[in-house]
Structure formats: structure tokens, C-alpha cells
Amino acid sequence: MEALAEIKGLTKVYGNTLAVNHLNLVIPRGRIIGLLGPNGSGKTTLIKMINGLLTPTAGSILINGCMPGPETKAKIAYLPERTYLQSGMKVCDLVGFFQDFYEDFNKDRAFSMLSALNIPFTAQLKTLSKGTKEKVQLILVMSRHADLFILDEPIAGVDPAARDYILKTIISNYNENASILLSTHLITDIENILDEVIFIRDGQILTHMPVDAIREEYGQSVDAYFRRVFAC
């Protein structure tokens, strides 16, 4: 089967900074992949280019063989690292919004996750705490049946109980044609759910290998290995 995403020679220059530097990456299907790197390593820049929110300076991105556009957006479920919701909306309005625009959205799944996390359906978004808003966004994204889930720092702002629920949701949503690309710096929390990890630094890929291969080869957790590789 063809790869889910193929990235070749991807480069992004901001002024004098090289945020992403001739990066090559193949994302296979059916994997949960951790995108790990220190702050400013180019994780978010890479993710935004895959989602068509940034225009690459050079290089190509193909998702299911298509360049970023309406076709790829229909197949990618993206959780940005910020709140993109209009504050005047209600939670249930948002569910309707996603239902209207994404054909792969499952409304029942969204409502059952919202009730599991005790989020009131009729609450206005501006009345919710930051952590709750993040949960709402994550639930909306995870209620899709997308090919590629891209989650940028999905667990940074939520409490440990919700974090466990979210990780379990990610696992149970997993299907063999879909992949999840998960960017984070909280490695320990998610290490066990990853198939493979990508270490990124200065806009380039340093390592791309399976988690258990790292443990077998180096006899340490990905977290410990990460600390060693990126030691200051």
C-alpha cells in the first residue's frame, strides 16, 4: 500500500531563520508516531505545512498522493496547539459545525466523549476553562474517522485523569489505515502508545525508529534517550 504521506526536501525559511531544512519523511499507514523535539525545533512549522496553513519555501508534501488542499483537508484531522474556536459558539453548535463540514465525523462518538468528560453540551465556549476548551477541540478532532490525525501538543494543558482518557481514546480510535502523528515534549506520558518516534532538531530529522528498537538497542526509555540526545 502506498504511504499515507510523503514529504520531500521540505524547507521553510522565515527571514533569516531556517525553520525546516530539506526535510524528508514518509508516514506509513496504521502507526502512532511521536514527533519529538525541543522548542523551536520545527515541529509546529512542519505540522502547519502539512495542513496547508504555511506555504513551504521549497519541497513537496503529498498526502494520499495529493498536495495540501481541500481533498487532503477532508482526510486530515488536525488539532493545533492553540484554541481556534469562535467564543460565541456553544459546544453543541460546534458538533453540528464539524458534522456539516467533515463527512467522516461521528456525532454520537463526540457526544459520548463529551459526557464522559462531563462537558455540558449547551455551554458557551467563552464560559469554559482553557483546559476544557482543549478537551472539546480534541474530542471534535478524535471523533473523525480521518486517515491522518495530527495532534500538536494534545495533552499539554489537561489534567492527568483527562490525559489518561484521551490516550485511551486515541488507542481505541486507532485503525489500521489511519496514522496518528503526535507532537509533544511530554514523552513519558505517551511513550507506551507510540509505534515509532521521530526526533527533530533544527528543522531536520535526527532519528526515526520504533520505540521498542530504541529500548532494545540503547536499554533505556525513549524519554531517557531523548534527554541524552538533546542534552545541553
Binding site: 489518561d164 485511551k168 481505541s172 509505534d195 521498542d212 533505556q220
Partner: protein, 124 residues
């Protein structure tokens, strides 16, 4: 046996061990049907592919059998389960002895220490 995973060993080999213990301890009895890969993965909070790999390993050891109709079941070969238990026990004991020897005890000293501890526990 809870799903507590340590950081330095491959995840899948730890999963194999935990499931073996669950079978030996009778959480899953001989002939019982196991939950699906996805359910087990969610329960353990691990990647489904890793869980799959662990189950495949257990299948290779014949502790788990895949049936076409009813999914994965625990073997009905109680002898094999017994053997697995013995194997695990001897592994733990080997490790224990190794650690104790690192602390400077001889085999005899270890045995008498263990006996002493066991009697104390028995009387109390």
C-alpha cells in the same frame, strides 16, 4: 496483575510477561476468551501494534490459540500453563539470587535468610 511497565525494557516483552501472569493467576482461565487487541491495548494504555506483537509471541509459545470463530482463547493445556508458571518462577529466583550475590551473600546464606523470613511471615 496491573499494567505497570518499566522504562528500560522493550514494552512488548513486558506485556508478554504480564499476560502470562494473568493466565497463571487465573484472571484468564484455561479455555477463556481473551479481550480484543484493541481492548487490551486500551486497558494497558499501550499501542495496539505492540499489544499485537505481544500476543503473537504468546501464540508462538502456544499459551494462546487463535480460533477462527471465537478469537483468541487461552490454551486448555493446563500442563503448559503449569510449565509457564515454573519457568517464570525459576526466572524470578535466578534474578533474586543474582541480586543477593551482588550484595555478598552465599547460596546457603540466602536460603537460610529466606527460610527465616518465611517462618516470620508464617507466625505473624
Amino acid at each position: 496483575m496491573a499494567w505497570i511497565l518499566s522504562a528500560d525494557k522493550p514494552i512488548y516483552s513486558q506485556l508478554v510477561e504480564i499476560i502470562q501472569i494473568q493466565i497463571i493467576s487465573g484472571k484468564y482461565k484455561a479455555g477463556d476468551r481473551l479481550p480484543s487487541v484493541r481492548e487490551l491495548a486500551a486497558e494497558a494504555s499501550v499501542n495496539p501494534n505492540t499489544m499485537q506483537k505481544a500476543l503473537a509471541e504468546l501464540e508462538r509459545n502456544a499459551l494462546i490459540i487463535t480460533q477462527r470463530t471465537s478469537g483468541r482463547i487461552v490454551t486448555e493445556d493446563t500442563e503448559l500453563i503449569q510449565k509457564t508458571q515454573t519457568n517464570l518462577a525459576s526466572e524470578y529466583i535466578k534474578n533474586f539470587f543474582r541480586t543477593m550475590k551482588e550484595l555478598g551473600y552465599s547460596s546457603d546464606e540466602i536460603l537460610s535468610l529466606v527460610r527465616e523470613m518465611a517462618e516470620k511471615e508464617y507466625t505473624s
